[in-house]
């Protein structure tokens, strides 16, 4: 850097200070506070009792928290397969030579991703509705009226039913990301493969997949991080019910803190959620990088 661009360190720092303070106030201070309040039995009022690590131990043992964590992981796995899998297939199809209306498909498939998750949850709760839902109307229409049921009250089916809108909303998002990676692959590679006699799916698995590996790793990381923070959709679709069968970590933290007013316990839970998410996101990423030999991006 030339001397003409030199600036005093103090003035650089002063310029960055407002943003830095604002950011710290919202991100850093709450985490510190949560760590602190986690050690207390506290319901939000003046009375606080120090209980040591008890809250943290209880969170780990709490069957509802475990169930919620399990649900987060279940949804993550289903979404990894559903979102990225279907997105890959669609992206591959869409990049074919004989596809018409490519632009139209791009715009349509991405559309759900810009919708508010609350509204998506509402729409799907109407689809699943017992009396007037599209699903039951459709089943009656095709003569399978005996399958009609109150879908979201079935605690065995509720989780897959929650996963469907979740997958649906983001297929287009991952599809577009994968397509942008496909577009950057040299088309000569595909032409050569075709000359060598590679068929459609062989091309996809043996040539396309390895070439866009790094993008897929990004997608997987995004998908895991995204599924750790599901809340809005569950809130409007099932509210965690029936019972706790479709509860997720954020939902349970919300209910304990704001409906049962166990603030100390909720704070401890926040810290556990933070750590669990960091481990899952960071762990899966480094595992993937090691496994595939990909580069750090």
């Amino acid at each position: 850097m030339k001397t003409c661009l030199k600036m005093k360190k103090s003035s650089i720092f002063l310029c960055m200070l407002p943003g830095l303070l604002w950011y710290s106030f919202i991100i850093l201070i709450p985490v510190i506070l949560a760590g602190y309040y986690g050690f207390f039995d506290w319901s939000g009022g003046a009375k606080k009792t120090f209980v040591g690590l008890q809250n943290f131990i209880e969170v780990m043992k709490d069957p509802v928290f475990r169930k919620s964590l399990f649900n987060n992981i279940y949804l993550t796995v289903v979404c990894l397969i559903g979102q990225i899998g279907i997105a890959f297939i669609l992206a591959f199809l869409l990049s074919g030579r004989h596809i018409k209306l490519k632009g139209f498909h791009r715009v349509m498939s991405y559309f759900p991703a810009v919708l508010s998750a609350v509204v998506v949850g509402f729409i799907w709760s109407l689809i699943y509705d017992y009396n007037y839902g599209l699903l039951n109307s459709f089943l009656t229409f095709i003569g399978m009226g005996d399958k009609v049921q109150a879908w979201l009250n079935n605690d065995k089916l509720v989780l897959p039913l929650v996963a469907i809108p979740l997958i649906w909303q983001y297929i287009g998002y991952y599809m577009i990301i994968i397509m942008s990676a496909l577009a950057s692959v040299d088309s000569e590679i595909f032409e050569m493969a075709e000359i060598d006699g590679a068929s459609g799916w062989k091309k996809a698995v043996y040539i396309t997949l390895p070439l866009i590996k790094n993008t897929l790793i990004v997608c997987v990381t995004l998908c895991i991080a995204g599924n750790m923070k599901i809340f809005d959709l569950i809130y409007s679709l099932t509210n965690g019910g029936p019972g706790y069968s479709s509860s997720v970590m954020a939902m349970y933290a919300y209910k304990t803190s704001f409906l049962s007013f166990k603030m100390g316990y909720g704070s401890a839970m926040s810290i556990v959620i933070l750590i669990v998410s960091l481990i899952l996101v960071g762990g899966s990423r480094s595992l993937l990088l090691r496994f595939t030999g990909g580069e750090e991006i």
Partner: protein, 278 residues
């Protein structure tokens, strides 16, 4: 002849598959729209049939008899203010992190990186406690605080890598011509950064517009609510009037939908670029 038939069938299948998928993506919005024009009884008679006597009565009811317009105003104000601060701070911090190598620079960079890894829902309870203690809940500016802070990391990163790719000679030339550092930054570099700022703006607009959690816990009174939380109130009120609820939902997604279909190309490009780089 035989071969050609097989070929056209092979081309037909992927086209059909994609068409079905595209249709399922847009159908809910279409369903919301035509159902919103129906009467309650008509909807309950057949949820899927097209309206026989379309009427805009539900729209008039919601826009005049509920707080929807207020919520819309709040959502617009929050988005506007949050975007302004995200872009301003993001630009300044991103610029300095990119151009200057000072002690603690990498630590600061890592500090913002960490912010992207923190799952927002882990902050839900502690932020509520902090805001209550500081008396910041339930006010017109309340939600601008978390939205700005949460949008900063991605903004800082995108600006940082963008400025890095810009030739420093421009700034040197400006300095030689007598432009002060601040003037160069704001009247030369800032305009050059417009493309990346637009990308950031797009990503953050949809985030802020659709944000639900903080809006739910930090706002109590209806007059400061945003659209996503406001419409959840309708769920209780209109639980027996589906078409009305569907009207509310359509109104709620309408602004984002309109923007999306006008600027879909830029929006898709911007959001994907942000996702991949972030």
């Amino acid at each position: 002849m035989k071969k050609e038939n097989k070929g056209s069938l092979l081309h037909w299948i992927p086209n059909a598959l994609l068409m079905v998928f595209s249709f399922t993506c847009i159908f809910p919005a279409i369903w919301l729209f035509y159902s919103s024009l129906k009467e309650k009884a008509e909807f309950y008679h057949s949820p899927i049939a097209l309206p026989q006597h379309p009427s805009f009565q539900h729209y008039i009811d919601i826009l005049t008899k509920s707080n929807f317009i207020t919520w819309l105003g709040n959502s617009i104000r929050n988005s506007g203010l949050a975007l302004f601060f995200i872009l301003l701070f993001g630009f300044i911090i991103g610029y300095f992190l990119s151009r200057y190598r000072f002690r603690g620079r990498n630590m600061l960079y890592g500090y913002f990186l960490l912010g992207m890894l923190v799952p927002v829902h882990a902050l839900m309870v502690p932020m509520y406690v902090l805001f209550t203690k500081a008396g910041l809940t339930d006010n017109w500016f309340t939600l601008v605080l978390p939205y700005t802070a949460l949008g900063l990391p991605i903004s800082v990163f995108l600006v940082e890598s963008y400025v890095k790719s810009m030739p420093i000679e421009v700034e040197e030339a400006a300095a030689i011509d007598g432009s002060s550092r601040y003037r160069t930054i704001f009247s030369i570099i800032l305009p050059m950064c417009v493309p990346i700022l637009v990308t950031i703006g797009i990503i953050q607009f949809f985030y802020v517009w659709n944000e639900f959690t903080f809006s739910l816990i930090l706002i109590d009174s209806e007059k400061w609510m945003t659209v996503p939380v406001g419409i959840t109130l309708f769920k209780g009120q209109f639980s027996t009037d589906f078409p009305k609820m569907m009207t509310a939902m359509l109104l709620a997604i309408f602004p984002a939908m309109l923007l999306y279909f006008i600027f879909s190309k830029q929006i898709i490009k911007g959001m994907v670029a942000g996702a991949v780089k972030g």
